[in-house]
């Protein structure tokens, strides 16, 4: 099956919007993706048909909402091929998921002088939480630098590993450069050295088929809103045995088995890590997004996006003074670039006026910008509802930008 992009665009109502009277060209998909009608409809269905706090309710609507939520967990389990549905923990997003693992992992495993290896390619969300827990435990965060192309090198990682290394944190796909990291090999190296590993999949699950058992990763996190689902919901996958060892992250309702002032016992997985009323409405709609992309097929999406990426890079390279930042061997559909003599903010402002939405600045990856000695980049990130015609509009827009600043 190939992608029928015109048909797909019909599923996303926002793509019909006009911006300053011009058709929207949405190239900010790495920041968040747009939502298909089925996801929007599902949110409305929850709130109009069976909105009710889940778990432990005795009435019809609570049972219905609970069943739908737990069904969503099963759908997500299958989507990433986790062994058990209770290895899927819901959090607010990838960021909260990393904070959860960082906090609980540090409580259980991290001691003074221990080391956590964090790649230089990380979003601040997969770097700051580790720095925070390291500071609390007097442990150290060790930088795994990337090379000029934006690739991480496995030999470099091997040199950084010491008997004190307790965990490696790395993304599957870089949000600012698009690098697809060799996570399978990285996980193997980690496990050969008895080191646990967390993969930030926020930029990966929408582009690459992920099988957590085949990868053998210990923890894998991602957000719904970057894979066509609602904001405010995300997933932490963890291996049962590892999650069982970890103490809870937050206390409250749901996460307890029994409570007295003398003693509290915690609930079993996944509820141990899901304090408070869960975000069931977004969870239920999230499952619709997963069903939607699964029906199209992640492999089909990947193939189409690879075409967009190749077309976009070829086209953009012909613009005078344009330099693509991040030329990794394998890339997701992200083009980060700068134009000689122009600030990314200036480029983004003018493109915006033409109805073209890109992201500019550091993309929450200041270490990457420091590494390249730049203040930021313009980033165009494509989804499977984007078209080559839209890339042509970006190309023409950029020529106009160059002309205006000349």
């Amino acid at each position: 099956m190939t992608i029928d992009v015109n048909k797909i665009r019909e599923d996303f109502p926002i793509l019909k919007e006009k911006i300053y009277g011009k058709p929207l060209v949405y190239f900010d998909n790495a920041a968040t993706t747009q939502k298909p009608q089925v996801v929007i409809d599902k949110l409305i269905e929850v709130y109009t048909k069976y909105n009710s706090n889940i778990h432990r309710g005795v009435h019809y609507m609570s049972n219905k909402a609970t069943t739908e939520t737990e069904n969503a967990r099963n759908i997500i389990q299958k989507f990433i091929n986790a062994k058990h549905s209770y290895e899927i923990i819901f959090a607010r997003g990838a960021t909260e998921g990393i904070n959860l693992i960082a906090y609980s992992f540090a409580e259980k495993h991290l001691k003074e002088g221990d080391e956590i290896i964090v790649s230089e390619l990380e979003h601040h969300s997969n770097m700051v939480p580790w720095k925070m827990v390291a500071e609390r435990k007097r442990a150290n965060v060790i930088k795994w630098a990337f090379n000029d192309n934006g690739d991480l090198e496995l030999d470099e990682l091997k040199k950084l590993i010491t008997p004190k290394t307790k965990l490696i944190a790395v993304n599957h796909v870089s949000n600012s450069l698009g690098t697809i990291n060799p996570v399978k090999e990285i996980i193997e190296i980690a496990h050969q050295n008895n080191i646990q590993i967390l993969i930030d999949g926020a930029q990966a699950v929408q582009h690459i088929k992920v099988d957590v058992q085949a990868l053998d990763c210990d923890y894998y996190v991602f957000s719904a809103h970057k894979i066509y689902g609602p904001t405010g919901i995300g997933v932490v996958y963890g291996k049962e045995a590892l999650l069982d060892e970890l103490p809870p992250y937050q206390g409250g309702g749901e996460m307890i088995e029994s409570v007295s002032f003398e003693e509290i016992t915690y609930n079993k997985l996944p509820f141990k890590f899901e304090a408070g009323t869960p975000n069931y409405a977004d969870t239920i709609a999230f499952a619709e997004a997963i069903k939607y992309v699964s029906a199209i097929g992640i492999d089909n999406i990947a193939a189409y996006e690879a075409e967009l990426l190749a077309y976009g890079e070829e086209k953009l390279k012909t613009i005078p003074g344009l330099k693509i930042i991040g030329t990794a061997k394998h890339k997701a559909s992200v083009i980060s670039f700068n134009i000689d003599g122009l600030h990314s903010y200036d480029v983004g402002m003018i493109l915006d006026k033409m109805g073209i939405a890109v992201r500019t600045g550091t993309h929450c990856t200041e270490p990457i910008m420091l590494r390249y000695g730049i203040s930021g980049t313009v980033r165009a990130s494509f989804a499977f509802y984007n078209t080559k015609e839209e890339i042509d509009l970006l190309y023409k827009g950029l020529l106009k930008v160059v002309e205006m600043f000349a």
Binding site: Y20, H343, D346, I350, G361, M404
Partner: protein, 142 residues
Amino acid sequence: MSELNKRQDEIVEEFSVFDDWMDRYSFLIDLGKDVPEIAEELKTDRTLIKGCQSRVWLNADLVDGLVEFQADSDAIITKGIIALLVRVVSGLSPKEIMEGDLYFIDKIGLKENLSPTRSNGLVSMIKQIKMYALAYYTKMNS
């Protein structure tokens, strides 16, 4: 009419000839290229106003009871708007700057540049202009 408002109305008048956004931004870009840059030695952490994306430097001196501003930015559009801001407030008394309402940015159709999400340092720059005025006002009256 105050000198501050007179200057603002002049700018509004100048912008009224532009029909569309492209003319307005082209004008800003030209201004951004022309603006007398702040002396390199004044581009320090003290004068830096950190925005998320474009950086803005702002310096103010009190000369004969009036505040003289110099400013710069690494982004040209931001620099163009800065040039307009400096033109409006520079050389006025601290009191007039403190009490003045900077309405011209909205009137010339550049309001989106002042949205906090733009993170271009302009909102902070306006605050900093007022802070300098307040500081010099306090100094003169103490």
